[in-house]
């Protein structure tokens, strides 16, 4: 291992840990104000959506709402399974299976 690469990696680790621990550390003393708690309640839903939506609707960096977008089709299958209250493994498995079928079949590409 080269020392400058290791040092860079350790700085990345420090930067990442700062983002993880800063809020609990700072809010520890003051507590979470009510208006902030009201905002933070919605963070999980907002963050999960923000991670999913571009991956499905714009997988190649542009908005693509068409049958040729395999991510969107497979995502719709997984979303339907989740809506029908299937366990996570079934939701993911059916989405992945759809993805593989589309890829191997070469549909729309």
């Amino acid at each position: 291992m080269r020392s400058e690469v290791v040092l860079t990696i350790l700085c990345m680790a420090a930067a990442t840990y700062f983002t993880r621990f800063a809020s609990p550390l700072l809010l520890n003393r003051t507590g979470v104000p009510r208006w902030l708690a009201r905002l933070l309640k919605h963070v999980p839903t907002a963050m999960l959506t923000a991670l999913i939506a571009p991956a499905l609707l714009a997988p190649q960096g542009f908005v693509e709402i068409s049958p040729a977008n395999h991510y969107l089709i497979a995502g719709a299958v997984a979303a339907f399974m989740a809506y029908r209250r299937q366990p996570p493994a079934v939701t993911m498995g059916s989405g992945m299976a759809m993805m593989l079928i589309l890829r191997m079949g070469g549909f729309g590409s």
Partner: protein, 231 residues
């Protein structure tokens, strides 16, 4: 210090299915790490100390291009800013923990372990040992998949090219859909969808996550504001 084994196992059990989405990324990271010229030790060291997939991936071409320490560390910081929001939303649940426990559990915060832990906290209640089980599962999976990627190296093709990158959004869908139970949560998701897609297309980098988060939580709080004030 006593660890509640049942809670720990529940955390592991609930996190394990999501690791199907993490594993291909760890493999791919291990493979790419070698291909840009990092040694096996350096590639693994990053997974063990940084433990943040998106930031690690984005650093690889920067290492290859000979970018400086400040540039890479600053990019890492920006990509991981969403942790500030995630951490803040966990604060009310972690209030009773000692500082060392908070510091330790915060290290294991990743999109998947956070989503599992907070979902449980918002439904059945927060449990430190459940949180620990979830974190450990995420960390060990990331480490093992990195090691496998490094070992397999050039012997296998990029698993993400097989469509396995879909495993990540599929994982998050399984966590998201059950949360969409009322008008407010649907509105939050709708705003997050519009803002994240628009920002992902228009703005370079990973800003779309934090921009969409801020816009969507503001709308959620605004919609609920009226209801809360009446109580």
């Amino acid at each position: 210090m006593v660890i509640d084994g049942a809670e720990l196992r529940a955390g592991v059990r609930d996190t394990l299915p999501l690791m199907l989405g993490v594993f291909p990324f760890g493999l791919a990271y291990g493979i790419f790490g070698q291909s840009v010229g990092l040694t096996s030790g350096e590639t693994l060291l990053m997974s063990l100390t940084v433990f943040a997939g998106a930031a690690q991936f984005i650093s690889l071409p920067m290492f290859a291009a000979g970018s400086g320490l400040m540039m890479i560390a600053l990019t890492t910081l920006l990509i991981n800013l969403r942790h500030l929001l995630m951490g803040a939303s966990l604060v009310p649940y972690m209030e009773k923990l000692s500082m060392p426990w908070k510091a330790f559990l915060c290290f294991g915060m990743a999109d998947e372990t956070y989503a599992v832990t907070i979902s449980r906290a918002q439904t059945l209640g927060y449990s430190r040992d459940y949180h620990l089980g979830s974190n450990a599962t995420g960390y060990i999976t990331w480490a093992i998949s990195t090691v496998l990627g490094v070992m397999l190296g050039s012997h296998i093709s990029n698993p993400l090219a097989w469509g396995l990158d879909f495993a990540m959004p599929a994982t998050f869908l399984a966590l998201l859909v059950p949360r969409l139970v009322d008008r407010t949560s649907l509105a939050v998701a709708a705003v997050a969808t519009i803002v994240s897609v628009a920002a992902a297309v228009l703005i370079p980098g990973k800003w779309y996550i934090i921009l969409a988060c801020l816009a969507a939580v503001a709308v959620g709080a605004w919609m609920e504001g009226g209801e809360l004030d009446e109580v």
